[in-house]
Symmetry: D2
Subunit: 346 residues, 4 copies
């Protein structure tokens, strides 16, 4: 039984790790970390866990934690994991970091986009970008996983096959993304109040959103080019879900069947990636509560572009579910163990 | 492995049975019945089931079905199950009827409130009202289960202990209930369109809702009196969830501890009923996606009334989850098998 | 032209006063008060007012304000208006207080339910409870208006005619109310975040909500009895709207026509109160954005109770609209001036 | 007083015309047309109009109508207005057609995208595309107005200044649009049920949406080039609002100030178009219920693209409000008469 510690267990992503691991046959949470709720019963913070979790929230004593658990999930603001990691700790436990601290290989780029100083740059190289469908073998051997961001997960998986196969002009890629409000976190801010979000949609972080370099990096690796693109997220009045609509010009004359074959090449064997039937557009309702990624595409002969679409649950495949998927790989378990729950609808 | 047939598998409750049973270790769905979608792939009707269910929807040939399955769930409009049941079928399979056909013991009362003729009144007596927490032993021995309605499940479980112990004046019981919109079904009606339901709340079926006699019957059995009460449902702009706020005058001078002891007496050993801590009010978000019932109460010394509150997910404990709970009892399985999923939040 | 000052103009109710008065032909806002946003452009706080309001937010200098305006609206937390009012100010301006400070005639009761010390109890007697439909003539002559609470407005107007005519047993009155989330204000609290409110419903303040004594007082005046009742508010995932479902036992044998005649007696000439057609239940969507109150009732011969229902927009008739209605009366204007906007749907 | 007839008054757009005109000082609705609700009281169809509209719904007798009114609004499915218009009718009344029948100058293009035969192609040339900010002078002299579609209104006004001034490469324009659900109409379809739309987002009509040629035509006129672009609409769980996020490559090296000056050149004097302050993104909540269009842009020096954004209320500026704006121009009234209502928030 894998002993698990969670730092940041009282955010939305942290709580989702709890929800998933409560049903995981090979893992047991032994440390519910929460800076804000130390000494409070976890089920007082999240009423859904009443009678399911009896634990009390604890602080983030990394050293003590490293002695008690086999894996640590850090579902914390940027910078925290970077400030805690060191060789001693990594020699004892595996770490799945849900923050951005180890996602960007170029520390200058990280510090520029995030506006913070990285406290453990030596470990960036070692860290594996935990997008399992792409880096599966590296994940299995890793000690430190940089769990991908929610928008990057959906964006990259939607575009990856066509970038990899070189059929789209990478300089034309535009990613227009839409996210449910849980992506904004559980902090008490006026902008995230019910009445402010409900019955509205807006773009935010236009040209400056921090997930941009993460997406660019991964699509650069895939395409073998330096990719610079536009990424525009939008806030949608719903709890969960990310939808990505990505646009790119085609470099070759391709048919539906050609492109379908490319998606199938990469995803046919992937349990969590579902390439939808022709003309079916991904919808976030069909993946809610699950670790699935629904992708599809449509060619526009008028403009010679392809529109690539993807949908995930931002808290599952975009955070907690993917973290558990990484844990499974790290510990040699079946990749979908504890993650087979069908999407919840409606 | 229990072979399962579902008649009405393309309604919201039917689909929820599918979602639950896909993870049930001892059950396998072999018949996806749907009058509206015959010959269509189930996963075309519910995109969440893409790649999880490969089956095609079939009609409701009860005879053929009875030869192929061990249990039939009828998640159909009132009257259908009543028209299909007979001795031959019951000799072969067990039936869990999610409609109201076998819930009311007095056939005249049923026909009056529902406005339809009952086609198999002979089986009403045999049918067991499948509120497991109350009728567990009878359920185990039954062939035909009348799965409780969503509002009745929540209403009865909220009030039952105090009715049973005789500390409330049953002639003063008023039940004010609030339901998410999935309770209205998947039929295409203007009144249930997004823009009609969103940003509004209304009462409906005031003094005439069909769940009234079902609640009255069960609370009559509990209290040993003929109970007549007010039940007022409201439509709330959310997908899932029922909240019940019930009022009654106290017959005795009781303290919080007295009443708490009564709730604990009936529910302490119940896995699915959670009596909340003092002063914590049930909220539907804390039970969503799960089979839990959260209940609590508050005494008002000013008016000498007790306010009893309960929350469920109408599609789980209020329909599909309870149906599976009944199935587990019918087949001698642990009652919560396949139903331990924690509530999904947010 | 009436010169208007608003203290607390950056809350939801304050902003709604602005929205309404921008179209009012006889009023002009000259002071946008806001403790939190002093020196900030009002339209930066509320983007809907961009290019419509050029003013800068100011502090709450009551003395200066009293010299510049004819009427002050205080849309502020409890206690503030009470701390600002004095004879000098009232000799210069009229005040419409949207807080509870002057609603309860018994200062001890106020202090007990609100848990704060009243700083100007001498003015409580003078203040007129501004429920125009009931206290119209007193309002016209007043200097200080206690603008009714949102729940009390809807509750009282739903029950008033039957209480006044003595046909219901006042000791049996139970009021179950449901409110949209703008009623919770614009403060940054976790409990009011989008993801916490969305897809859930809960009761709160059960047996202890501060609007209880306000409702009891007014229904006591109406019925001539000391009324003690249960009032239970619920939080609903929508921006605006209050629905009240009130229950009481009938003291007499009455028909639909009898009760309808009573409602018509009090409301037929009222512009803002709409007694709906037989069997039509009030819905909050039909009053949204307007100052209307939709009321109706249903008699239950089985229980000998009457169910009284009412719907308002909590920010309009429940706050800002009613405040403007009071202003109109105070200044001898047509009562519905600037308030004739039809409800916005959907 | 302008006498108004509405054909299709019981759809969402038709009802919004009613809401607006009830407050219009120079217009009076004398004909509430509705094929579906003939002989029914209008206020039974829309409860918000109770006691505000006493009229009965009538059929669409165009001839009779033409004798009784000065202007007809056709808020009807495509094809209907085209089938009703003729010289005799246009000699008597002005027509504002909210359908697409007269928006596309090339009848073949219309018939191809809409899949229907145009029954009065002779009037297409005469019809004026009623985007008042662009075609104001032509509108004033017209008899037949093609009221712009909701997506085109928002898309065109967001992109128009830069297209007109030639600073963007029109072959790179991509428009990603998001709409509230009222845009889908009031027809009873499963896909538009509350539980299907709520908590989800999806793209639809990808590469094939009928508003594409309308947008292309108008941007072609503006830029003087044949524009072919990608337009992708998305369905958002909210009642009202359209947000457009448009992307294009810059042809010149421009600063924020340069581009701002261009937007100001076209919109500074426009009452209904609000060019937001630097870095403020349009949000649909700030225009809800009003005829305003909020636009802004952001330059991305990394990709050399400009992101143009716009927000409208799809039922107001995207339909009914713009129709009334056209009516005002047709009858020589101030363009914003009856349309000055501030946006409703929250």
């Amino acid at each position: 039984m894998i002993r698990v510690g969670i730092i940041g267990s009282t955010g939305y992503a942290g709580q989702e790790i709890v929800r998933i691991l409560l049903r995981h046959p090979e893992a047991k949470i032994v440390w519910y970390g929460s800076r804000s709720y130390i000494d409070k019963r976890y089920s007082e913070v999240f009423g859904n866990m009443f009678q399911l979790v009896e634990d009390i929230c604890k602080g983030e004593n990394m050293k003590e934690l490293a002695d008690q658990v086999d894996v640590i999930f850090t579902a914390t603001p940027q910078g925290l994991c970077g400030s805690l990691v060191n060789e001693e700790i990594l020699s004892k436990v595996k770490i799945v970091d849900l923050s951005a601290d180890f996602r960007i290989k170029d520390v200058d780029k990280y510090e520029k986009w995030y506006g913070i100083h990285h406290e453990s740059p030596d470990f960036i190289k070692e860290a594996v970008y935990g997008l399992c469908e792409i880096n599966r073998e590296d994940v299995k051997k890793a000690r430190l996983i940089a769990n991908p961001g929610c928008f990057p997960t959906c964006s990259i998986l939607s575009v990856y096959p066509l970038a990899k196969e070189g059929i789209i002009d990478m300089s034309t890629v535009i990613i227009d993304a839409k996210s449910g409000t849980s992506g904004a976190g559980r902090g008490a801010k006026v902008a995230n109040l019910y009445c402010e979000v409900n019955e509205s949609i807006k773009a935010y972080g236009v040209t400056t959103h921090r997930h941009t370099p993460e997406i660019e990096d991964q699509l650069s690796y895939a395409s073998g080019e330096d990719v610079i693109l536009n990424f525009t997220p939008h806030l949608v009045p719903m709890n969960r879900g990310i939808l990505v609509t990505a646009y790119a010009s085609l470099k070759k004359n391709v048919t539906y069947e050609d492109v379908k074959a490319i998606y199938d090449k990469y995803y046919k064997e992937e349990y969590f990636v579902r390439v939808l039937d022709k003309d079916v557009c991904p919808e976030t309702r069909w993946v809610e509560g699950s670790n699935f990624v629904d992708v599809n595409f449509r060619i526009d002969p008028r403009t010679n572009r392809v529109i690539m679409m993807g949908a995930i649950d931002n808290l599952v495949k975009g955070a907690a579910g993917q973290a558990v998927q990484n844990m499974n790989l790290l510990f040699g378990l079946p990749e979908n163990l504890g993650l087979e729950m069908p999407p919840v609808f409606p």
